[in-house]
């Protein structure tokens, strides 16, 4: 198991190194104006799962009881994928937080028969719960597997129902849900900024995961705003930056910064192996 997971991690990063210089038909709708996005610095991620819990609380995600996890029906809009590197005595855990990548070229959007998921002008991949009929085609099309299906109506025992966020709807059975970049917070900021007659300031909006990240591994901003910290970070760390599963050509809105491990023993053959697959 560990070797295959390791291999997968190697592939995931190796694949990301493929340059994409071919022009595609990607007519990115958010090339002007706001594009909400996130920069994930894997060097800083400790795998603490604070983002997962914060997301759970913010977005009224149903309780992931043990049974749910065992039958793989647990819902985590952001999940920490853990891969092992190296063999047992020198094994190292590597973490990749995976959330909806808010792709500019989203495979989920084209396949929905009812337009329950679409791309909005701010680069969000929006899921309209009330429109969704639950064909789950989008979940199949998504290479990141970040779309989750509601197999039943969620229930919260007393008094946990009192902590539900009123700004987020409680999803009914039979629909798909996924990370929204905490669109309720973005909307609230829009209203605040609108009533004050100004634009949203950089750093004004934070999704729950980024807000709760103790090491600031997740930072959120308008990637099209060159003054925002994440945009500058992505620029400054360009040699470390990649997007997940780049060869799918999805143009994600989440940018990852590679982990640089000064103590890593680089196995030449392993790299050659991953390179052959890339």
């Amino acid at each position: 198991m560990s070797s295959s997971a390791n291999e997968a991690a190697a592939r995931a990063s190796a694949v990301s190194e493929m340059g994409r210089t071919i022009p595609t038909d990607a007519e990115v709708p958010h090339s002007e104006g706001v594009r909400w996005g996130m920069v994930v610095d894997l060097d800083r991620c400790t795998g603490c799962q604070a983002c997962v819990v914060a997301c759970q609380a913010e977005n009224n995600i149903a309780l992931n009881e043990e049974q749910r996890v065992l039958e793989r029906r647990a819902k985590t809009w952001i999940r920490i994928e853990r891969y092992w590197e190296g063999e047992f005595p020198n094994a190292k855990a590597r973490f990749i937080p995976v959330l909806c990548q808010h792709c500019g070229n989203a495979p989920c959007e084209t396949v929905c028969p009812v337009w329950a998921t679409y791309h909005n002008r701010e680069g969000l991949n929006v899921q309209v719960y009330n429109r969704c009929i639950g064909t789950r085609f989008c979940a199949n099309g998504c290479p990141y597997s970040v779309r989750y299906f509601n197999f039943w109506n969620p229930e919260w025992p007393e008094p946990m129902n009192n902590q539900l966020n009123p700004d987020v709807t409680v999803r009914t059975k039979g629909i798909i849900e996924k990370c929204t970049f905490c669109v309720q917070r973005i909307n609230r900021a829009h209203v605040t900024a609108g009533t004050e007659g100004r634009e949203i300031r950089p750093g004004e909006v934070q999704p729950a995961c980024a807000q709760s990240c103790p090491t600031s591994a997740l930072v959120f901003a308008d990637l099209n705003n060159p003054e925002s910290y994440p945009a500058q970070l992505a620029e400054a760390e360009a040699d470390r930056s990649y997007t997940l599963l780049e060869h799918f050509g999805t143009d994600p809105g989440v940018i990852y910064l590679k982990k640089v491990d000064p103590h890593a023993e680089i196995h030449e053959d392993e790299h050659a192996h991953a390179g052959a697959h890339a």
Partner: protein, 449 residues
């Protein structure tokens, strides 16, 4: 139903009707033109061999010619074999015309050798051989193609022997080797039985070999040289459009036969056009189906590496040949063939067929030039879109000459082997009768087991 030419129903059985080799009424100029073209083809081939051995890009347009031959001359005999298996009596006078294309299809092997010699090593590029290295692709492809061509020649010869052999006394009088060449054909019941079984099984084998060779060559000379081009349907597209072109070239040839060969003209007529026309419509629709199945999936899934390859063959680099292909192989033929009048007249359908034969040449250009001229065939995706590689004067002369050579070889073969298969037509005349039923004339068709 379009009635067959009357001559076909009333063949003399006693003495048995024996067809002639092409009694051609071409004038001197026509013969001279064909010979000149053939000579040009040979000269150009030699010139290419000397100047461009091992230079892959230089062999791009010869590859187009190779695939053109594979899609026309090699596929035309399928009409003979398939109609024999399906007991299609309408095809009786056409079978030899189609099968004769086995002779010019031998030219494809001549082209294959230098082209294969110019291919880069398999390592580092996608290919069908998955590390299986026993001579692949050179030996395997050459072996597969040569088996296919030999099968075609064997079928042509076997089915022609009863016509060539003449009366039993003539064969008995032959020398030993000549008799062997004529399969010792005296027309015994056992010989007929073996001939029939051989025709059917070899025909089925040829059909499968045709699909297989298309899979190998279209992959080894096309897909695997253009990184990012991963299309499972392409071998089938290649084979099916080849069949479309094969039907077209057979109809075209049939029309020319009727015009220039008095004997063949007695039997070839609108019945063949009507029956083959239906299949041509189906094949024309197939062109679109297979093109669309390919295009839609790549364009929809938007994997950058695949889209780039598609941009080369369809959307950007070779858009001109693509548009010509779509018009000549699909839009125009379909628009014309829906009219019964066009479909049921040999001369009109020959015009449509000419469009398709030209169209398939452009189709092969858009698919095989880019891979052959691609300087960096290694890896999983292309770094940049390649620039289009248009033919220079030498390439154009090569194409004209070699395709001319193909027709010259066909005419030569037709002048050696009868263009009509007399024995099958005699058989057909026994199984097809005109009768009156109520107040109309009907054709009664016997279907023996």
């Amino acid at each position: 139903m379009i009635a067959p030419e009357a001559a076909g129903l009333k063949l003399s059985l006693r003495p048995p009707y024996r067809p002639q080799a092409l009694n051609i009424s071409l004038n001197q100029a026509g013969i001279a033109l064909l010979a000149a073209l053939g000579l040009l083809g040979i000269v150009m081939y030699v010139v290419k061999l000397i100047t461009a051995w091992g230079d892959r890009a230089e062999w791009a347009y010869p590859t187009v010619v190779l695939m053109f031959i594979l899609s026309t001359a090699t596929s035309a005999p399928l009409i003979a074999y398939a109609s024999r298996m399906a007991k299609g009596y309408w095809a009786l006078p056409l079978r030899r015309v189609a099968a004769l294309y086995a002779a010019p299809s031998l030219l494809s092997f001549v082209l294959l050798i230098p082209i294969m010699a110019s291919l880069p090593p398999l390592e580092g590029r996608s290919n069908l051989w998955f590390g299986f290295s026993a001579g692949a692709p050179f030996l395997t492809d050459a072996l597969a193609l040569s088996i296919l061509l030999l099968t075609g020649m064997a079928l042509l010869w076997f089915s022609a022997v009863p016509d060539l052999a003449g009366p039993p006394s003539r064969v008995r009088a032959m020398g030993r080797w000549q008799r062997l060449l004529y399969l010792n054909w005296t027309g015994t019941a056992r010989q007929w039985k073996v001939l029939r079984a051989a025709n059917l099984t070899l025909g089925a084998f040829y059909l499968m070999g045709y699909a297989f060779v298309h899979m190998l060559l279209s992959t080894d000379l096309g897909q695997s040289l253009l990184p990012g081009w991963r299309s499972g349907i392409f071998p089938v597209y290649s084979a099916v459009t080849g069949i479309q072109a094969g039907i077209a070239i057979t109809l075209l040839t049939a029309a020319l036969m009727r015009r220039f060969s008095p004997e063949a003209g007695r039997f070839l007529g609108d019945e063949q056009a009507a029956a083959l026309g239906k299949i041509l419509v189906a094949a024309t629709l197939m062109w679109f189906y297979f093109f669309w199945s390919d295009f839609l999936l790549i364009w929809y899934a938007r994997l950058p590496s695949e889209v780039a390859a598609m941009q080369v063959t369809v959307a950007i680099t070779y858009i001109l040949p693509f548009v010509l292909t779509a018009v000549l192989m699909f839009a125009l033929p379909l628009g014309l063939l829906i009219f019964n009048k066009v479909r049921q007249s040999l001369s009109l359908i020959a015009g449509v067929s000419a469009l398709i034969v030209v169209g398939i040449l452009f189709d092969r250009i858009r698919f095989f030039v880019a891979p052959m001229a691609n300087p960096s065939p290694f890896g999983h995706s292309m770094e940049t879109l390649p620039a289009p590689y248009w033919p220079n004067a030498l390439d154009i002369l090569f194409m004209i000459g070699f395709i001319g050579l193909m027709f010259a070889v066909f005419v030569y073969a037709a002048s050696r082997i009868p263009v009509l298969n007399g024995w099958e037509m005699r058989q057909g005349s026994m199984l097809r009768k005109e009768r009156t039923f109520m107040k109309t004339h009907v054709l009664v068709i016997g279907k023996p087991d």
